[in-house]
């Protein structure tokens, strides 16, 4: 929602599906460089980061490169707060983002859905193990 708001403020339309895709051009300036840095930092791919930092510094400048990592590190923490507490979307945000969430495909991240999905998987595996042990 906030990326879309930035686009409205900048009088630009950003491709929000680039957020959930592993590739794709969002329309945000230097998003390929930013994406590579962000994904390596959050994915614990420390070995790749030295080269990525150098490349990003050449393109963005050193302070901007550090600032990309600043935002990435912050959101690597705050997303875990949400993931560990199962908070719902704020009411107005929920209503305002209904179409966007469906289009981008983030409704599958809903905490109730995730709980059901992984608990079902647990049940299936448990049932499978019970069947295997009784037949063995």
């Amino acid at each position: 929602m906030l990326l879309r708001a930035s686009g409205e403020r900048d009088d630009r339309t950003y491709d929000l599906s680039a957020v959930t895709d592993d590739q794709g051009d969002s329309g945000v300036a230097h998003s390929d460089t930013i994406r590579a840095l962000t994904e390596a930092a959050v994915g614990n791919r420390w070995d790749e980061l030295a080269a990525l930092r150098d490349r990003a510094t050449a393109i963005l400048g050193e302070q901007a490169m550090v600032d990309v990592l600043t935002v990435a590190a912050g959101f690597n923490g705050i997303t875990r707060v949400a993931d560990a507490t199962g908070i719902p979307l704020d009411d107005r945000a929920r209503a305002a983002t209904e179409d966007m969430r469906a289009a981008v495909g983030i409704d599958r991240f809903h905490y109730a859905q995730k709980s059901a999905r992984y608990d079902i998987a647990t049940g299936e595996v448990s049932a499978y193990r019970s069947a295997s042990s009784s037949s063995g």
Binding site: A72, T85, G86, D90
Partner: protein, 230 residues
């Protein structure tokens, strides 16, 4: 912290150091030793064999075992810490309920979540800059501080949220969005986490050398990777 030629912003350095000191101080429900142990557990999770096997599984809940723990924290708390650190995308309510079922109060859970997530910010930023993670500080002696009963309300989260009047903020968000209310059961947990986080982002006029749109793209991408619905 941050002994590097890279231009780390002074405000961020100061806030991280304050947060690091706060972690090594008694919290509302956990003593300083326990809080520091939580940081050590979060770090140990990255090389934990059970966590690795769970990451490879269809469902983390399908893989039983014992974590490679480095503390004497309750096993249910260790499990939560390792999951939040290594596999936040697949955190489920059953993990939270498992902690409660082990006799650990929700307030302890919240305080531990705050410490883990604060340490994730600090460690991620160090690692991203090619720096070793900082040593934890010696835990201060003394019992947990306790707290005044906070005003909370059931709002369809796993935990009660801070009870606040709904007021409009910016960009269609309320002045106090749910993410700021999520740890409201333990106001000290809110204070610790946002002490570290605030230097990383702003909803508008982000005080960094990147545009707001670039900041939102990064935020959105991390949220997608961690499957953060919020």
């Amino acid at each position: 912290m941050y002994d590097t030629p890279y231009p780390v912003r002074p405000e961020l350095k100061r806030k991280h150091l304050e947060a690091w000191r706060l972690i090594a101080s008694p919290g509302p429900f956990l003593d300083a030793r326990e809080r520091v142990q939580i940081v050590h557990e979060a770090r140990a999770a990255l090389s934990c064999d059970l966590c690795r096997r769970r990451l490879e599984a269809l469902s983390p809940n399908a893989v039983a075992g014992v974590h490679d723990a480095v503390s004497d924290l309750h096993p249910a708390l260790v499990d939560m810490i390792h999951r939040v650190r290594t596999d936040p995308a697949r955190m489920t309510k059953s993990v939270f309920e498992g902690v409660l079922a082990a006799g650990i109060p929700a307030e302890h859970y919240i305080e531990a979540v705050s410490v883990v997530c604060t340490s994730v910010i600090v460690d991620t930023f160090h690692n991203a800059l090619g720096l070793p993670v900082p040593d934890t500080l010696p835990p201060e002696p003394g019992p947990p501080t306790g707290q005044e009963p906070p005003r909370v309300v059931d709002a369809d989260a796993w935990v009660p949220l801070t009870d606040v009047a709904v007021e409009d903020g910016v960009f269609g968000l309320p002045r106090s969005p749910n993410i700021a209310r999520a740890m409201g059961l333990v106001p000290g947990a809110v204070a610790l986490f946002f002490l570290a986080f605030r230097a990383h982002y702003a909803l508008r006029d982000v005080p960094l050398d990147i545009s707001q749109a670039q900041a939102e793209f990064i935020a959105s991408r991390v949220s997608a990777i961690n499957e953060c619905f919020y």
